[in-house]
Amino acid sequence: MFDALAERLEDTWKKLRGQGKISQSNIQEALQEVRKALLEADVNFQVVKSFVAEVEKNALGAEVISGVNPQQQFIKIVYDELVKVMGESNAPLAEADKPPRVVLMAGLQGAGKTTATAKLALYLQKQKRSCLMVATDVYRPAAIQQLITLGTQISVPVFELGTGANPVDIARQGLEEAKNKGIDTVIIDTAGRLQIDQEMMAELAQVKDAVNPDEVLLVVDSMTGQEAANVTRSFHEEIGITGAILTKMDGDSRGGAALSIRTISGQPIKFIGVGEKVEALEPFYPDRMASRILNM
């Protein structure tokens, strides 16, 4: 684990050989390496700043552990801080006080919302929970057809009113349908939108008001760079998210967006998408993500 960061820190620590303790002056180069590693992993620039400051504080306050060299100790401090920020343990999907449970998917264009909607439905279905998927994306060409195709693949019904209806009405009626049929979980797929598109953000807020969701999941592409921070901030401030799904983790991106999402919203990442197929959804584990971000 952390081979690359450890390797890079090697040179830094060579100079410190014989110095048993982490100090303000001998730690600066090491902090610089951490900063570089996080920037290369696409952690937001501002988030890197506050993270590195926290690591510095922790490192300076750290007790010297006999038998452990300062390099190992320092790397452990960085790793522990990453895990801590990312939430320590897996956060499961929220339950509803009274069924149906409502999950609202949101995010930028192409992030993976529609695919994640089907993946989550299949995931829940395997736990013997019945699902209804609601197609409110009336904008993207063939978006409804995409959800219907996925629904057929996994044998989960899709509620849709075509492209002529209003997304708020579709969501409301979809929820009614689920209530009538005694369905356990309703997952609402929405159109992709930019966080600066006021009209589309207002529409999403209306959908939210109409269905009063138990979960609002921000779907974020794990290859996203600095923008993950802005997207999270706006969606959280304007809509209020309760968690996130990080998609396309089967790629080789380092996924620094995870740290930005968590730091800025304070909300947990709940699932990761690990493939194009409907089975490719896994719970999110903070320790694995910390390794991924640091391991180069």
Binding site: Q109, I196, A228, G251
Partner: protein, 282 residues
């Protein structure tokens, strides 16, 4: 970072601008060093550093064009032009195909689209909507999991039969670390080379402006499989700056040809390094 007229404070400000635009650590280091040298050599006051910075950034983006005999991006007359669009999942390939079909149509060219994403749910339906919007024939094979190379083959035949000027090829999104999918793409490219020997081929990688440093790896691996000749940078209507394009331009010498700035049919513009750099630093 390198010695030069800029003080620590100024360097940090410039770094902050570049990092937050996804230029990345290495490219930022290169740019700041180049800037320091330029200021020193040309005795430019550090107050004028931003103007010099803009020059350097534009140079990086314009450099790939220097090697070309023809710098404009346009179909060659009297020939079949094949424009192959590739990239990772969800970046905007299909939408760009629609926009390009519209642009080609309104410029008087005869177009055919090959719907070679035979994998994603409703991918063919999506591209067909764009075909209807632009009144462009779409060659598709409705069968499940059909070979995309076969669709491309049919597309080339149809384009030749219709005497089309341009064949637009939409491909499935694929992550560059998937060996089998990259091999499938290489096969598509081989079919094009073999079947359309006289065609003028543009192989365009679609990059999403929200992408971080993974965009560099994408460009490297897609370059090999699809023999890229250029880049389309999408979703610049958001606040993401698309700074990874600088690294792609520098590392791979690929010119950026178009930018996508919206989901509408007209939201495609030729790339301007001047406008891009102004937006990047704003």
């Amino acid at each position: 970072i390198g010695q030069g007229p800029l003080n620590q404070n100024a360097i940090e400000q410039i770094e902050a601008m570049l990092y937050s635009a996804d230029v990345g650590y290495e490219a930022t280091e290169y740019i700041v060093n180049t800037l320091q040298n330029k200021l020193k050599e040309e005795s430019i006051a550090s107050e004028d550093a931003i103007a010099s910075l803009k020059e350097i950034l534009q140079q990086v983006l314009d450099e790939p064009l220097q090697k070309l005999t023809k710098t404009e991006f346009e179909p060659e007359a009297g020939k079949l032009n094949i424009w192959l669009l590739t990239g990772v999942n969800g970046v905007g390939k299909t939408t760009t195909i629609g926009k390009l079909a519209h642009l080609a149509k309104t410029s008087g060219y005869n177009c055919v689209i090959a719907a070679a994403d035979t994998f994603r749910a409703a991918a063919v339906e999506q591209v067909k909507v764009w075909g209807e919007r632009t009144n462009t024939p779409v060659i598709a094979n409705e069968g499940k999991n059909t070979d995309p190379a076969a669709v491309v083959f049919d597309g080339i035949n149809a384009a030749i039969a219709r005497n089309a000027d341009i064949l637009l090829v939409d491909t499935a999104g694929r992550l560059q670390n998937k060996k089998n999918l990259m091999e499938e793409l290489a096969k598509i490219r081989r079919i094009i080379d073999k079947k359309a020997v006289d065609a003028n081929i543009e192989s365009l990688l679609v990059l999403d402006a929200t992408l971080g440093q993974n965009g560099l790896k994408q460009a490297q691996v897609f370059s090999e499989a699809a023999q890229l000749t250029g880049v389309v940078l999408t979703k610049l209507d958001g606040t993401a700056k698309g700074g990874v394009a600088l690294g792609v331009s520098r590392d791979l010498g690929l010119p950026i040809r178009f930018i996508g700035a919206g989901e509408g049919i007209e939201d495609l513009r030729p790339f301007s390094s001047y406008e891009f750099v102004e937006a990047l630093l704003s």
